[in-house]
């Protein structure tokens, strides 16, 4: 019996085809090969059943193990960016795989090792852009982002600079100052109740803060889609705006912005990045804990809490939101522990809803389904990115989706205003 021959073209590429992109591929493989090999050689695959995308598609191409194995295969000259480009779209950047990796869990501290998969996906997407293998949906999205300065958020408010502060109507927020609150695009143009809630809570607690003169997107989503140069340009604009008003402290209510400011920006600017970045939910937790913000109005709801991936899995923030929920009078809180929630996700991150909205919708459907089993009336999240797909799934299953800030604001006796959702007809992935 003959052993199988590779199909024509299978092994013909050579590791680095001399077509001008070879150097880019070589750099990419050299940068990530040892990290990839830590996964490839252990072969545990414990990451798979916690991966929100894999749980839906059940396709081995979409697994963290494949994302690493492809780099080894690329080094062998078996595959190229074009062969795997669609696979790397299948990631929300939630980071569950990194936490569940036995290499990270049991030997990571000793060897100063953490399996890095989210960064690998971002790096591959950047290689896809540089080698002409970008995804059409993401390209259009980033083109519109660059044109408007903000994400092409779907909703009723036009995405234009002149409307970027519409959400704050009537709040009389100043411009500039030592402390700036950065408002996420989704929360500025779509879920405005989110921004109004946190802003009014901070005002009520006596926190002085201002808004940017001209607020662009944080650049994080573009970076996640592989558009490194564009993301960098947004970062430079925002940092220049902060400096121009003498800002020292940036409040980031949105977990995605917080990741950009604490992970992407320091990489861009190195030592020349002087800002203190404060996470909204932690600041709020402190204010309540210190008695500067009293939660006195009962909220008669039975809720469970969705751990946003970028808080829980990426940043280890899971206590502060729970403490806030427990501080709300009248609330019945049915908790699911944060480790169990490693395998939960809304599907809203990493650009997935732009390219694969049906997968995002199914991830959210399953997440809401788990909440519904707890016999609650409300699923509380703490990330506006998650709340659009979760709310869509909640509509299907008769469960309301609220943001934590909105709930806390009610308990603080604040009439929030704004809108949590656009009319159903305009619903779509962002």
């Amino acid at each position: 019996l003959s052993s199988a021959e590779p199909r024509s073209g299978d092994a013909a590429k050579g590791p680095y085809a001399p077509d001008g992109d070879g150097e880019l591929r070589r750099e990419f493989v050299e940068r990530w090969r040892d990290n990839a090999y830590g996964c490839f050689s252990s072969g545990h695959k414990f990451c798979r059943e916690v991966c929100p995308v894999m749980q839906v598609t059940r396709n081995e191409n979409h697994t963290p193990t494949a994302f690493h194995a492809n780099i080894v295969a690329m080094e062998q000259g078996l595959v190229d960016a074009e062969d795997v480009a669609d696979d790397y779209v299948h990631c929300t950047g939630c980071g569950a795989c990194e936490l569940r990796c036995p290499n990270t869990l049991f030997t990571g501290d000793f060897y100063r090792h953490r399996t890095r998969t989210v960064d690998v996906v971002k790096a591959m997407r950047a290689l896809m852009v540089k080698t002409g293998n970008e995804r059409p949906g993401w390209r259009r999205w980033v083109e519109r982002l660059v044109e408007a300065g903000n994400e092409p958020v779907l909703g009723e408010v036009p995405v234009e600079q002149e409307h970027v502060r519409d959400w704050a109507h009537g709040l009389d927020l100043p411009e500039g100052g030592e402390t700036i609150m950065f408002v996420d695009c989704e929360a500025a143009f779509y879920r405005t109740s989110y921004s109004r809630a946190i802003a009014q809570l901070l005002m009520k607690a006596g926190v002085d803060f201002g808004l940017m003169r001209e607020q662009w997107c944080c650049g994080g989503p573009a970076a996640e889609m592989g558009y490194v140069d564009q993301a960098r340009a947004f970062a430079e604009h925002n940092v220049a705006d902060w400096r121009a008003v003498g800002a020292r402290r940036i409040i980031a209510p949105d977990p995605h912005d917080y990741i950009a400011f604490t992970e992407d920006y320091p990489r861009y600017f190195g030592a020349d990045y002087e800002f203190e970045i404060v996470l909204g939910v932690e600041l709020l937790g402190d204010l309540v804990g210190e008695g500067r913000l009293a939660l006195t109005e009962p909220v008669e709801r039975t809720v469970t809490y969705h751990d946003p991936c970028r808080l829980n899995k990426r940043k280890g923030v899971h206590e502060a939101p729970r403490e806030l929920l427990r501080a709300i009078p009248g609330l019945t809180f049915r908790d699911v522990d944060h480790v169990t929630q490693w395998s939960y996700c809304s599907g809203g991150g990493g650009g997935l809803p732009v390219e694969k909205p049906e997968i995002t919708a199914e991830i959210s459907r399953r997440r809401v389904g788990r909440a519904a089993q707890l016999d609650v009336d409300t699923l509380v999240s703490a990330c506006p990115w998650s709340e659009r797909p979760l709310a869509n799934a909640g509509d299907e299953q008769g469960l309301e989706v609220m943001d934590l800030f909105e709930l806390v604001a009610r308990a603080a006796g604040i009439e929030v205003g704004g809108h949590a959702r656009a009319p159903a007809a305009t619903e779509a992935g962002r």
Binding site: L1, S2, S3, A4, E5, P6, R7, D10, A11, D34, Y37, G38, F40, S41, S42, G43, H44, K45, F46, R48, E49, T57, R58, N59, E60, N61, T63, A66, A69, N70, V72, A73, Q76, L78, V79, D83, V84, D87, R100, P102, N103, L105, F106, T107, G108, D109, F110, Y111, H113
Partner: protein
């Protein structure tokens, strides 16, 4: 007589036919990355010959009917079919050796029925045990198949490989836990196999007992498309105790005493040898450091009702200490047992001949051996690995475990493993040949001591496969006759276990 087709047999006409069967482009995957990523399992892999192991096309069926239609097509055209579930096996069951159509069952992960009256759960082969148990938990029952790969392996692969469970001494192993199943035969018929004609019966004397024929065949006799599994009551109490010894033989004797104790709640006993302890000491994060006089460890677990386990724990604490055993405390006992799936193999622990950390691939070579030969086999196995380690500089000895293996009768034989680190980045053809040769020598030792090449991983790849006829001896012609009768065209996972002999 030889009837195995090659990759070239897959052409556009075959793809069109597959397309008409599957009917969904997202589940018919002829693209390169889909093939590259269904080529290997965690077993050592000849990276330099990756392309040789790729399937030509992968399909993700959602029903037994789709699987059957694909297999009928393959059988008619003489195209190899390779079933794949999690792809987490430690031998090559799910690795294509001759290309062909890879049938990936991961989408068949539904729970079809939970029957709390007759205590069964019926599932698709693509479901993972951890996920299954999450759904079973509210009902007070669980499916007790508990391998090291518990968080990632899938029911179909467990059945195909004939998996072994850490809790097998108490609850049985995969084959004991499958009550009945639906199998697509190599010629494409769908058959239901169980005890007699029963779907939820644990014992029958009608006809032949076919169920065991379809567990542990390494994907060579068919593809399981549905399985009815045992439901056990969730234990009220789990007890684990780890004992340290300054001498392997004391630990060996203690293992024997524990397994002969007659405790019905005994779920498993694990014996760590001195190489394993030394390996774990390489990183004090992974294993709380033990004094140098600790040379061996015995871990024991009991599962059951509170009254039973509390009484058993008292007996275990006495037996564990009889031969100078020292209890390692609640933290290690409970912590290490709780993390038993994750704990004991990491590529970061690899060391080259100079003791430098290098990323090594973990390989676990297993055998089924009787209690009496464990000390001798241990010496011979370590000597083999040491010889290859010194000669090639790409291997590393990560020590041995022996685990109780008899379901409900843990006293006589053991799943024995030697963990070997392999520096795959340095693997070339010479290194690969050396590994195959090392593997063969390890297996030969097992046979020389009246053991079996493998207790659960499967004897599928060279280094093992050529020894299968010798191990099977006078029953080998029977196995060949069965293979030939069920798979006349040798399309079902060809090239494994020396079954090609059936067609010569």
């Amino acid at each position: 007589m030889s009837a195995v087709a090659f990759k070239s047999a897959i052409d556009d006409a075959v793809l069109d036919e597959l397309r008409s069967i599957i009917g969904d482009e997202r589940r018919l995957l002829p693209n390169l990355s889909s093939r590259v990523n269904r080529t290997r399992v965690p077993a050592p892999f000849p990276v330099h010959r990756w392309a040789e192991h790729m399937p030509d096309v992968a399909v993700l069926p959602v029903s037994a009917e789709e699987v059957a239609a694909v297999v009928r097509l393959a059988n008619r055209r003489g195209i190899p079919v390779v079933p794949r579930a999690g792809g987490t096996g430690l031998s090559d069951g799910a690795v294509p050796l001759r290309g062909g159509i890879l049938v990936d069952v991961k989408l068949m992960n539904q729970i079809h029925e939970i029957d709390l009256e007759d205590r069964t759960v019926t599932v698709g082969p693509g479901i993972n045990m951890l996920k299954l148990n999450e759904q079973l938990r509210p009902h007070g029952v669980f499916y007790p198949d508990d391998p090291a790969s518990y968080p990632c392996s899938l029911v179909g692969g467990r059945i195909g490989t004939g998996g072994w469970s850490l809790l097998g001494a108490r609850f049985g192993h995969t084959r004991d836990l499958v009550v009945s199943m639906q199998v697509v035969l190599p010629t494409g018929e769908i058959a239901h196999v169980g005890e007699g004609g029963g779907r939820k019966l644990r014992k029958s004397s009608t006809g032949l007992t076919l169920k065991h024929l379809f567990t542990g065949h390494q994907g060579t006799l068919g593809i399981t498309t549905e399985a009815t599994l045992e439901l056990a009551p969730r234990p009220e109490l789990e007890f684990a105790a780890f004992f340290a010894f300054d001498d392997y033989m004391k630990a060996h004797r203690t293992t024997g005493a524990l397994t002969r104790s007659g405790l019905a709640t005994l779920a498993g006993v694990v014996l760590f040898d001195e190489w394993k302890i030394a390996y774990l000491r390489r990183d004090d994060e992974a294993y709380i450091p033990q004094p140098d006089d600790v040379r061996s460890v015995v871990a024991v677990a009991a599962y059951g009702t509170r009254g039973e386990v509390e009484a058993a724990a008292e007996r275990i604490m006495k037996l564990g200490r009889l031969d100078d055993g020292r209890y390692l405390g609640d933290e290690i006992s409970q912590g290490d047992w709780a993390s038993r799936h994750d704990r004991y193999a990491t590529p970061l622990h690899g060391r080259d001949l100079e003791g430098q950390a290098v990323p090594m691939s973990w390989h676990c070579e297993d055998a089924a051996l009787n209690y009496s030969v464990l000390p001798r086999v241990r010496e011979e196995w370590h000597a083999i690995v040491e010889r290859y380690r010194r000669e090639y500089g790409i291997f590393d000895d990560w020590g041995m475990f022996a685990y109780t293996s008899g379901a409900g009768k843990p006293w006589g034989d053991y799943l024995v493993e030697i963990d070997v680190g392999i520096w795959e980045q340095r693997l070339d053809e010479d290194g690969w040949r050396a590994w195959v040769s090392c593997k063969r020598e390890i297996s030969e030792v097992s046979l020389n001591h009246g053991g079996s090449i493998t207790a659960c991983h499967g004897a599928t790849r060279e280094g093992d496969a050529e020894l299968v006829p010798r191990e099977m001896g006078s029953s080998w012609p029977v196995a060949l006759a069965i293979k030939r009768a069920l798979d006349p065209n040798n399309v079902m996972n060809p090239g494994k276990q020396s079954f090609d002999e059936a067609y010569r």
